[in-house]
């Protein structure tokens, strides 16, 4: 049929115009429209649901991707912050140590020189630390070395820009000490195991008890009087022996020393009042 397409067109246009006139006359869609709406509304709802689900899945995927990227970025940031935090903590600890050292330095009635530990010898045969102060700084052999807690040791070797300090718990170390409570004199020596032992304390003195604070006696001319050495943790009374022996818990944690004060001058005064002894040390 030659004119079929025009017939279709005219029919469709007529139907459209009819719908338009029906719709505009009643102001509403009208019955045909309601019928179409009745068919398409559930389909629209279903399609909308499918679409929202699809978009939800896509959105979840995007979120997951973003979260993953964000997670990686946050992990990196967290790692950096941890490092920064450690650095800050380290700086704070160093700051605290230096403050204590400075405070002690200001309190002491003799000239001192601060030094930084640059090496440690921690084998059983020798226990020493090396500091970055040497002959050029005026350091001499037997210069006492202290930390805010008490006696660390003495300089046994001096180099141009460094000095080796023999620690108090070195097996060949010995310091003239006394019981702070009774003023009974003795000698504190290091032991191969790293402990410090109190030896040669006269039995007829005031004796020694667990918990007694041991300080340098000033005898021998190496260490000034009153430097805290340690506390008695066990007394070894050998009965017939001429002397008392005791094991000490050093006031200084030798393994953690990082900064020291070298006592450059001489003094006959008792230095104990210048140390703030923490309970238990």
């Amino acid at each position: 049929m030659r004119y079929r397409k025009y017939v279709v067109l005219v029919s469709v246009l007529l139907v459209s115009l009819l719908l338009l006139s029906l719709g505009t006359r009643g102001g509403e869609i009208g019955r045909p429209g309601e019928l179409v709406a009745f068919v398409i509304t559930p389909l629209q709802a279903a399609l909308s649901k499918i679409q929202s689900t699809a978009f939800g899945v896509w959105s979840t995927y995007l979120d997951w991707k973003n979260v993953r990227r964000e997670n990686q970025a946050l992990r990196t940031e967290l790692e950096q912050l941890r490092i920064q935090s450690l650095q800050v903590e380290d700086t704070q600890r160093e700051n605290l140590r230096l403050r204590r050292l400075l405070a002690l330095r200001e309190r002491l009635p003799l000239s001192t020189l601060s030094g930084e530990v640059i090496a440690k010898e921690w084998g059983g045969w020798v226990r020493s630390v090396t500091v970055n102060r040497g002959r050029s700084d005026g350091v001499a052999r037997l210069t006492p070395a202290i930390v805010p807690e008490g006696l660390l040791g003495r300089v046994v070797e001096v180099r141009a820009r460094a000095a080796v300090i023999q620690l108090l718990n070195d097996p060949s170390s010995a310091a003239a000490v006394m019981v702070q409570r009774t003023r009974t004199a003795g000698v504190a020596e290091g032991e191969p195991g790293g402990a410090v032992r109190l030896k040669f304390m006269a039995r007829d003195g005031g004796g020694v008890q667990v918990g007694d604070l041991i300080v340098t006696s000033g005898l021998g001319g190496v260490f000034p009087k009153g430097l805290p050495v340690g506390r008695v943790i066990a007394v070894e009374d050998k009965g017939s022996a001429l002397f008392h022996y005791a094991r000490l818990h050093p006031v200084v944690d030798f393994a953690r020393v990082e900064e020291v004060l070298l006592l450059m001058g001489q003094t006959g005064a008792d230095l104990l009042p210048h140390f703030s002894l923490e309970p238990g040390t």
Binding site: V8, V12, S16, I40, Q44, Q51
Partner: protein
Amino acid sequence: MRVSLALMLLGGGLAQTSVAPALSVGGVAPDIPLVLTVLLGLRRGPEVGCVSGFAVGLLQDVAGGGFVGAQALTKALVGFAAGLMGEWLWVSNPLVQVPGLVLLTLAEGLGRYWLLQLLHFPAAFGDVMLYVVLPQALYNGFLGAAGAFGLSVIEARRSGSLWR
């Protein structure tokens, strides 16, 4: 064939109210049923184009809550025109399909505006053309290009060549 055509039209009509808003760019959404009508008209002739346009236009009228029959009429005309173009032009070429789609969208917009003016539609002609019809025509052209390319790929796979 008729069932698949009906399903396609129904899908196109429904997509306009569900998918098209999600595809909107800068507030301009494509007229998917119009694209479908033009493509069907170009490929299947004026009768199919006209009936398809009427069907999807009616769906849009009902779904959109406007004057029922307005889009049915304009889209039926567009579908018929696209069908006539298909008889005169080499319409399987996207270089014909896409500009044809843009022009027919503009024509549909003009026709709809004229029709709605009869029903006292208040908007100004310039505003409707500038902010609604022209951007939508361009979007439809873009969408039509994508659709035509997709159809060509499918057809090429079926026949073994890219363009028939």
